[in-house]
């Protein structure tokens, strides 16, 4: 089964990629760390960000968290509210 997940982009990640969301192929047993590796290969400029976290379904996710096709995934560059 070929499926993809949509990754929401904000702030500098949106500027660097020129997109507000990118589609990533979802492979069997794919984890957050695999997603980051894929994105770094696809968009090398993302590697320059000081700290890039991933949120899954609105919660900060660890690198070993498994991903599913129904997850809402977002890249979280360093925050700077206030």
């Amino acid at each position: 089964m070929n499926t993809t997940v949509l990754v929401l982009l904000f702030g500098i990640t949106r500027d660097l990629t020129g997109q507000s969301a990118v589609s990533v192929p979802l492979s069997e047993g794919m984890r957050v760390g695999d997603l980051l590796t894929h994105l770094h290969l696809q968009y090398p400029e993302l590697a320059g960000i000081r700290s890039l976290l991933v949120a899954v379904n609105g919660e900060y996710a660890e690198r070993d968290q498994a991903l599913g096709s129904n997850d809402e995934i977002a890249l979280i560059p360093p925050v700077s509210g206030g």
Binding site: L8, I12, Y60, P78, V79, G81, G82
Partner: protein, 136 residues
């Protein structure tokens, strides 16, 4: 109360929400757009939020503040969109019986917002722009 808004933040409404007969202290922190960063003139700030997660992370901070201090009421409002210098970007308000708790809780809330809530600001200068904290 926790909220994200594109409208100007209404201090009077926030204060009304904080009023309580049991409160001996009400602390307000207002985060305002400054006209410079390290002596470089700032024209405006552009705030962006991952709304769904920003609300839930701010609610977590409010819950933790309520666990640590005896808060009677709290308000956290963050604005997003384009803000000119002098405009208010964030309002934190807490009401407590005694002032020490109010000061500490207010500081905890704003400091933690800057660490965990997915809201980003871009400083727009007259000669360029930069996402704060990103260091690409």
């Amino acid at each position: 109360m926790v909220a994200i808004t594109t409208d100007p933040i209404d201090v009077t409404s926030a204060l009304e929400h904080l009023h309580s007969g049991q409160a001996g202290a009400i602390d307000l922190f207002l985060g305002v757009v400054r006209d410079n960063t390290k002596d470089r003139p700032v024209d405006r700030l552009e705030y962006e939020a991952y709304d769904r997660m920003a609300i839930s992370e701010m609610q977590k901070i409010a819950d933790e503040a309520n666990r640590r201090w005896p808060l009677l009421r709290h308000v956290i409002i963050h604005r997003k969109g384009t803000l000119q210098t002098g405009e208010m970007a964030v309002l934190i308000g807490v009401a407590t019986a005694h002032r020490a708790d109010a000061f500490e809780a207010c500081r905890y809330i704003i400091d933690t917002i800057k660490e965990t809530v997915p809201i980003w600001k871009k400083e727009v200068f007259t000669d360029g722009e930069v996402w704060v904290n990103a260091h690409p």
